[in-house]
Symmetry: D2
Subunit: 371 residues, 4 copies
């Protein structure tokens, strides 16, 4: 079947394998008239580029994007935007031993079962390089959102046991540390922790949080395509994510209604909420408060430590995965989570255009040129 | 837009409002030749029926299902299965005051913003009664899974602070207590807790866990339609769910790779895993181990306590929500989470039929009758 | 798979069998705020009702529609509109002999091959009664179009050899004859022809034409979802249709470019066309001229004459189909073609809302209420 | 919205403009294990390549395809197949004057209305070069069909008034004349006719017929996704097609039932039909007989003759379209129609896998490896 497309109106289709010729994405359904250049995309891609510091894979890729269609004289035309990034540093020899062995924590085994064989080089389709297409699409989505006054921002909330508590956020510090944490002090503790893990040939998990502001109320569809439901799919579809939380997330299970409900009040003529336990969604639609979500990321599966596993021929064996791997994928995944959030919001804003007759009349009243 | 359909091949479309004439569901894409009767559906619906004990709303509904199409002589025909449940006890007067006031924690405000007006009676489309359609469809999905040797079972893991720990599961006790917990002792503590909350005009959250066994490896699509991603959408689309976890869930953020990875080993000629931190998915596909997911449910939003809120005319006001409300929705949501899981698995099993040429040849080799 | 849904935003899902309990439709994605009543739907359904004159089946059905959801206080709410029509006159004995025999021209044989068994009563899912759901949805679509100043009108262009030529159209006469032809004189000749065929236990084909006016230019998507392509699917999906033409249709094959091209000119400040060979579409988008399509309908397959056929056990046999059958289905299919056209136009108008940034800004500039 | 994707399981997404950097296609949902090389694709592309003789545009493009993903060691992997063809001969100066003028018969005007501006170079997205992606996908589909014993073949049935009658088909001659007609003699007459039109700065329409053999009965979904309905969309979505016919097509309108019905009979133990007026479909599903469809193609819109038109500023003007244009597009469209047919059949064969429980059991009985 076809699981490489996300979105109903703003449709993002990624393609490509880790060690194939290229990876890329088609963005279909982008409205015409959006200012868009390769530089806009590149800025986003550079945030997930490998080899930036010792916490990211040393694979050396420029990850330079080329826009092949859908843009004319600096503006989107309304037709599919095809973007491609050539794979350059395809050191296949690093991965040779995994052709015949299933790496623990990786997709190798189910991939082999599903398709009967697999492109074993560097994880193939299940490689993190697939997310290049998501980030390129996320860049486009973010530009649309910006035109509507909506901002999306993701950052690292925790690495292993080191966590930025809600009262210790310094958003200006996010870009100041290599882990993209909104608190340089916690980031330093986390770095020391990662240094230890690197020596121990081990890896760490962490948490990414994402906040969107400026979203009008009523975005999201009331039943299966709830704002939070589609965000859950979008975020959980990023490899290594094992939990998605909205607002208070798992802590609601232990809460009582009188505390969990956010009271409404009028603030300068606008409906507002005193608190935001809901994380910006009510009944699956945006409620006008900031949207808040969190993703729990598992530790990098590729570790140099010896692990027990089996071969594709059904023999017990051991494996040590050498090569170029991040001790933690959280920092590079930050822009991926931000991109998936932006894509989801964009798609739902476009879907919402048809929610009421009033919108139709507004659009078609003026544009009409009929015989 | 159209957010009332879930699934790509096994397509479930629910319809209906809390206080409209009826609620129902269309299941399109159900394979022909499945034995199916109204009694099969009713068994599932009875598990979410209101009025069963003091922890569930006293609204009195028989919730009797009628199958209107898609079944002939006891078997599905391959055409859409239309199922309908008439609403009977529509005591609209209970809800009169909410026409002009937004209830905290409810969808009232974003609904009004989205559509310009709303069916305010009992939550309208955002009512829990919408899940009747999901459960009816879940019953069909469960029958398909059963024919393939796959079982899905959900239960209450926690209510407020009362939680069944992993080493205290007694699955046989699930049906023995009104909270559907796999430990009668914890269930009794939770009941006492709920009794207190009822007196205090308050409500509680909780956690539902769902386990699926017998799923072959390789089910789920590798990118956006990952098994865990679609389960996340499916489960988060149930009202009141604020977090979805797979396997170790949020605890992976604090883990290290050497512990989080599940080592493979051969067990009686079969690829197996020593542990199941992954919760049965790798790279978004089933890995042959039991699938494990959890949903965190917020406390019932409707509480009789006085709450601050605003009117649709933009005036600050207070509201006390009387009427028939569950102090906790977890027990009744158990079968809804189980249904959404069964629906998702069924759809992905059907999607997986086209994963390899070998499947096509197997199916078309025998069936062919061509001129 | 699931082939019972049409449309991407305005989604129409029909269900039901000829001799099941009921037939119906879900319309999901209808914008909120449209005035809608059961009487609006009934008016459309009455145009395809059986038993109106000697050229239509004598099956006696009131075909009374009930709206079960999606409408509140006379307006659509934006949630799924569920409409149902109970089957009343299910004289199954009329159809008993077809359980074991494949009727020539009918779906019996491929249905049996596809699903392994079938609801043989009255054609089951392939019965013309399935179109009740289409017409009910078409009524909703037509109301949306009317609010935007768009009209859709279908009529009978030919019955057997009797055809209304382009220069002989009298649109006011369409409702004046039982065949819905825009020329009473031709209609009378066609009626005489049908009278003869009835005596001969035979049936006739015919042509339906449909014209839509008031459509703005630019509706339709440029590649696979072209306006004419989706109309072709919509119209060809009506049983018995064997050809779909747009504008000059098949006669373009023998034409030359200098004649087939429609010259543009300015008419009162508006871009207009001197001719309309294109039938209102250019490059798959509306061009501002009236949309013109035609459907060629095959003769009713059920005829009382003896025909050669085979049994499901693979024996040669003969069959005479008695019961209540139309000698021509064209007149009753007129409203079905009109409905499918209206549905397609509505869906593409809704899709077109997201075609340019200008639309987004127009809609979201005013509606915003953000914290 | 997103109209660049066709198919539900075998999903084809084309992208690219006439004078952009490249054109291409993503084929998602192709089963794993199909032998596939660039040479397989190139063979198909060469059939629509420009510059092959005097009846096709002299634009000089090698149209060399590169497969960027989804194939590993000569076999499809089940992941998206990305194929790209670089545009080389982008002589934009030829098209300069059309930036400000709407060409009659072209998409210029509705494109401008829909998106507010357009890539005017060579027709942009509405150029015939978009079909390169369709043909590349058609090549993949054809290989799948071949593995299942199904063949699809298209050819030119008529050019202007010169038509190959049903009793004059010589299929072996199709490749022997530059018009791909199954009759060299008629082809010569048609060539003489085209020579005259070229001198007269004019163009011709024509008819393409396509036949598929080996299709099992029961393929196609009974309601909106009928085999013939999806073929109608697929074929009508090819630019310049103005009519689609199945089997007897428009002539059924004048027929009577006793002649139009195809009698069944048993032939060597197999259900067969004496005639094939139906063109291989009954009730929207394949009936085991050869599938027959026809497309009516309008004359090339670009003619060097002077035509009346208007500017984008709303001024009446005249235009003569010089440059490199085919006097007839029928011969180059043959492989496009064949491709769209192959794509549609492949998608419906994959959809049909889930039609009955028997299929599921067949596939999952053997593949299972579960804990």
């Amino acid at each position: 079947m076809s699981g490489s497309t996300f979105g109903k109106i703003f449709r993002v289709t990624t393609w490509g394998e880790s060690h194939g010729a290229a990876v890329g994405v088609i963005v279909d359904g982008c409205p015409a008239g959006l200012s868009l250049s390769e530089a806009d995309i590149q800025t986003f891609l550079d945030r997930r580029k490998p080899g930036q510091n010792k916490y990211t894979t040393r694979r050396s890729e420029a990850d330079t994007v080329e826009i092949l269609s859908g843009v004319f004289e600096g503006y989107t035309t309304g037709t599919p935007i095809s973007m491609v990034v050539r794979n350059k540093d395809q050191r296949s020899r690093d991965y040779g031993n995994i052709a015949a062995t299933y790496r623990p924590g990786h997709a190798d085994y189910p991939f082999q079962e599903k398709y009967g064989f697999r492109d074993y080089r560097g994880g193939g389709r299940s490689s993190g390089r697939e997310t290049i297409g998501r980030v390129a699409a996320g860049a486009v989505a973010s530009l649309i959102l910006r035109e509507l006054g909506i901002t999306v921002k993701a950052y690292t909330k925790s690495i292993g046991p080191y966590k930025v508590e809600a009262n210790a956020y310094h958003f200006s510090e996010i870009e100041e540390n290599p882990l993209f944490m909104p608190n340089n002090e916690v980031a330093q503790q986390a770095q020391a922790y990662l240094d230890t893990l690197i020596k121990e040939l081990n890896s760490s998990g962490g948490t990414i949080e994402c906040i969107a502001k400026g979203l009008p109320a009523g975005i999201g569809e009331p039943v299966f395509d709830k704002l939070d439901a589609l965000l859950a799919q979008a975020v959980m579809s990023v490899g290594a994510v094992k939990a998605v939380e909205i607002g208070d997330g798992i802590s609601v299970a232990a809460a009582v209604g009188s505390e969990n409900n956010d009271p409404f009040f009028m603030d300068k003529g606008k409906v507002s909420k005193r608190t935001n336990h809901s994380g910006g969604t009510l009944g699956g639609m945006s409620d006008g408060s900031p949207l808040v979500l969190r993703a729990s990321i598992k530790p990098t599966s590729s570790i140099a430590r010896k692990q027990h596993t089996v071969t594709i021929d059904g023999q017990d064996t051991e494996i040590s995965i050498h090569g170029r791997h991040d001790p933690v994928i959280v920092p590079r995944a930050v822009v991926v989570i931000e991109s998936m959030t932006a894509i989801t919001l964009t798609d739902l804003l476009l879907q919402n255009l048809s929610s009421k007759m009033k919108h139709l009349k507004k659009v078609y009243a003026e544009d009409k040129n009929v015989e």
